[in-house]
C-alpha cells in the first residue's frame, strides 16, 4: 500500500500532508499525556517492533504469503491509537528515507492511510466491539480487517482521482493514469482477501500470544483513552467524504469533462496556465481564505475534510489542554 513518488500530484500530497500535520500534532500531544514518561522509550521500541513486524511474511491459505501493517495491533498493545500513529509514522519514515519504499512527497498520503485511518479506525472498532461483546480477539480481528481495508480504500481513491483532476492539455493523465473504476477494484481485491487476512492473522495471533504469556501487559493500559463516539464519527466522515465524490460520480465526472473542455477552449487565449497544479498547491496550503472563493468542487471536498479534521483536533487539543495542569502535576509527583 506504499504509494510511490509521482503517482500522486504534488498538490494532493500537500493536502494530505497538511491533514497529517494536525493529526501528528494531536498524537504527539496525546501521547505525552496518555503515556507516562516511563513508557516514552516504548514508543521508539514499539516503532522498531512494528517495522520488524512488516518484515515477516505471514503464510496464507493457498501457499501465498503477505505482510501486514500492524497499526491496529500497536494501538491495541499500547492502548492508544496515537501511539500506533506515531509508531507507524516513524516506521514509514524510515522506509521512505532509508529504504526508498514509498515516496517522500507521498509520505503525507501514506501516513494518512496507514498511520491515521488504519490505527484510529481499527482501534475504534476494536474498542466498540470489545465493549459490546467482551471478545477481545474477535474485536481485534474485525478492527484490524476494517482498518486495513479502509486504508486501502483511501489509497485507491487517492490514486483514482488523479486522472480526473490532473490532466495535460490533451486530456492525458499527468500522474497515476487509472481512474476510480480501475484503482478501487485493483486495490481492494488484494486487501479484502490476502492482505486483510494477513492483518487479521498478525493481530489476533500476537494478541493471543501476549494474552497467554503475559496478560498483565494488556491490562495496564491508560484508562483515559476510552473512546468517544466522536472519534468513530470523525474516521467515518473522512472515509465517506471521498465517497460523496463517488456517489455523485456521473454528474461530477461529466462536469469534470465539460470543465476540461472549456478550459482547453479558453486555453488557446490563456495558455495552459490553469493546469491547477501549482495553483492548487499554494491555494490549499498557503491561502485557504483565498481558495474558498470560486474554487473547484474537488478542492472543496478535500478541503472541508481537512478543515473538519483540524477543527475536531483543535477541539480535542483544547479539551486536553484544560486538563493538562492536573496531569502535569501528577506526573511531577511520580518523578
Amino acid at each position: 500500500m506504499h504509494i510511490p513518488e509521482n503517482y500522486l500530484s504534488p498538490s494532493t500530497c500537500a493536502v494530505m500532508a497538511a491533514a497529517m500535520v494536525s493529526v501528528w500534532t494531536y498524537s504527539v500531544k496525546k501521547v505525552k499525556e496518555e503515556i507516562p514518561k516511563v513508557k516514552m522509550p516504548l514508543l521508539g521500541i514499539g516503532a522498531a517492533f512494528s517495522f520488524l513486524g512488516m518484515m515477516f511474511n505471514i503464510p496464507l491459505p493457498g501457499g501465498t504469503t503477505g505482510h501486514a501493517v500492524g497499526g491496529t495491533l500497536i494501538a491495541i498493545l499500547t492502548g492508544s491509537p496515537s501511539a500506533g500513529c506515531i509508531a507507524v509514522t516513524i516506521a514509514l519514515l524510515i522506509q521512505a528515507l532509508l529504504f526508498g519504499d514509498g515516496g517522500i512527497l507521498a509520505f503525507g498520503a501514506n501516513c494518512f492511510n496507514m498511520a491515521f485511518i488504519l490505527p484510529f479506525l481499527g482501534f475504534a472498532i476494536y474498542k466498540l466491539i470489545w465493549e459490546k461483546t467482551g471478545k477481545r480477539k474477535l474485536a481485534a480481528g474485525i478492527g484490524s480487517y476494517i482498518g486495513i481495508n479502509a486504508a486501502a480504500f483511501c489509497a485507491a481513491i487517492e490514486f483514482g482521482i488523479q486522472p480526473l483532476l490532473f490532466t495535460d492539455a490533451a486530456g492525458k493523465a499527468l500522474y497515476c493514469p487509472y481512474p476510480l473504476t480501475i484503482s478501487i477494484p485493483a486495490m481492494m481485491i488484494g486487501h479484502l482477501t490476502l492482505f486483510g487476512i494477513a492483518e487479521i492473522v498478525l493481530t489476533t495471533a500476537i494478541l493471543a500470544f501476549v494474552e497467554k504469556i503475559s496478560p498483565e501487559t494488556l491490562e495496564e493500559k491508560p484508562a483515559q483513552s476510552a473512546f468517544k463516539p466522536l472519534y468513530i464519527l470523525m474516521a467515518v466522515l473522512i472515509i465517506f467524504t471521498p465517497l460523496g465524490l463517488l456517489a455523485s460520480g456521473t454528474a461530477w465526472g461529466e462536469w469534470g469533462v465539460e470543465e476540461m473542455a472549456s478550459l482547453v477552449s479558453n486555453g488557446k487565449a490563456l495558455g495552459y496556465t490553469p493546469a491547477g497544479m501549482e495553483k492548487g498547491f499554494s491555494l490549499a496550503s498557503l491561502f485557504p481564505d483565498y481558495s474558498m472563493a470560486g474554487m473547484p468542487e474537488w478542492i472543496g471536498y478535500i478541503l472541508s475534510a481537512v478543515v473538519g479534521v483540524a477543527i475536531i483536533v483543535i477541539f480535542f487539543k483544547l479539551l486536553a489542554g484544560s486538563k493538562k495542569d492536573k496531569i502535569d502535576f501528577s506526573k511531577g509527583q511520580s518523578v
Binding site: P4, E5, N6, Y7, P10, W24, V28, V31, K32, K37, V38, K39, M40, P41, L42, L43, G44, I45, G46, A47, A48, F49, F51, L52, M55, F56, N57, I58, P59, G63, T65, L77, I86, I90, I94, L97, L98, F99, G100, G103, I104, L105, D168, K172, A173, Y175, P177, Y178, V201, A205, I206, A208, F209, V210, I213, T217, A275, M277, K331, V335
Partner: protein, 275 residues
C-alpha cells in the same frame, strides 16, 4: 586377551552400508523469507551504514536539496526537465564507489521495474507516454533518496531533522527506533535460527511459531523499554528530551546551494518556455 579380541573384531555389517538418507522435502518458505527480510534490514542498518564523503554538504542541507529536487521533478510537466534531472542524478551517482552504487541501484531497479509493470496497462488504455514520464520520475526520486541514505550517516540525518523544527519527542523516538530495529532484529534472527535448527525432518507447524516469534519480540521490547527508561533516569532524564542544535554552515555547502539555485532556474526556464 581383551585387547586381542578388540583388534580382531570387525565393523558390524550395518555400519558398512552406505546410508540412503534423503530428508523429506520440507516447506521452508516462512522461515526463509522472513529471515531474508530481517537480514536485509539488519545488513542495511548495521553493516552498510551510510558514510559521509569529504565533499558532501551538511546533512540538513542534503535533506533539503533532496526534497527540493524530488519536488521539482514531480512538479515538472516538461519531459526535458525530467531528463535533465535524470542526467544529473546519474552524474551524481557516478561519483560514488561501485559498492555503494550497486546498493543504490538495486533499490532503484526494483522501483523502476515495479512502476513500469504497474503502468504497462496504461499504454493500452491510450496513454503511452505516461509510462516513460513516470518511470523516469520514479527513477530520479528513488535514486536521489538512495544517494541521500548511502551518503549520510543516519544519526546525523535524524539530528538534521532538528533544523526543520520537528518536535524533540519525534526525533527521540526515531533515534531509538533505528537503534532498536537492529537490537530487536537480532533477537528475531536468533529465534528464527533456533526455529530452523529445531525443525528437523518435517515440521509442518513452523508457521504456527509466527505469533510466538513476534510475541516474544514484543515482550522483549517492553522489557528493553523499561530497562532503557531506568538507564535514562540514571543519566538524569526528567521527561524532556532535548536534541542539540547543530547548524554549522560549511564551505562545501556553497556548492550545493549554487546547484539548488541552478536547478530551480532550469525548472522555471523550462516550465516558462512550455507556456
Amino acid at each position: 586377551m581383551q585387547n586381542q579380541e578388540k583388534n580382531n573384531s570387525f565393523l558390524p555389517s550395518w555400519m558398512c552400508e552406505t546410508e540412503q538418507y534423503v530428508p523429506s522435502i520440507d516447506k521452508d518458505g516462512f522461515i526463509t523469507k522472513s529471515t531474508q527480510a530481517v537480514l536485509g534490514v539488519l545488513s542495511k542498518l548495521k553493516w552498510k551504514e551510510g558514510k559521509d564523503g569529504c565533499l558532501s554538504a551538511s546533512p540538513s542541507l542534503k535533506l533539503c536539496y533532496t526534497f527540493l529536487y524530488i519536488l521539482l521533478t514531480a512538479c515538472s510537466k516538461n519531459y526535458v526537465f525530467s531528463l535533465i534531472m535524470a542526467g544529473g542524478t546519474i552524474l551524481a551517482l557516478a561519483t560514488y564507489p561501485a559498492e555503494t552504487m550497486k546498493q543504490i541501484l538495486s533499490g532503484t531497479f526494483g522501483a523502476v521495474l515495479f512502476s513500469a509493470l504497474i503502468l504497462l496497462p496504461a499504454v493500452f488504455i491510450g496513454n503511452p507516454q505516461i509510462l516513460l514520464i513516470i518511470t523516469t520520475k520514479v527513477f530520479v526520486s528513488v535514486t536521489l533518496i538512495g544517494i541521500l541514505s548511502a551518503g549520510t550517516s543516519w544519526n546525523k540525518l535524524t539530528a538534521s531533522l532538528r533544523s526543520f523544527h520537528i518536535p524533540d519527542i519525534f526525533i527521540f523516538t526515531l533515534d531509538i527506533t533505528l537503534k532498536y530495529i537492529a537490537v530487536l532484529g537480532e533477537i528475531c534472527m536468533e529465534i528464527l535460527t533456533s526455529l530452523r535448527l529445531r525443525s528437523v525432518g518435517q515440521n509442518r507447524k513452523k508457521a504456527q511459531s509466527f505469533s510466538g516469534i513476534l510475541g516474544i519480540s514484543f515482550l522483549k521490547s517492553r522489557e528493553m523499554a523499561e530497562e532503557m527508561y531506568a538507564a535514562m533516569c540514571c543519566r538524569g532524564f526528567v521527561g524532556e528530551y532535548k536534541t542539540q542544535k547543530t547548524s554549522t554552515f560549511r564551505k562545501q555547502d556553497i556548492l550545493s546551494l549554487l546547484l539548488m539555485i541552478g536547478v530551480t532556474g532550469i525548472f522555471i526556464y523550462f516550465e516558462g518556455l512550455w507556456k
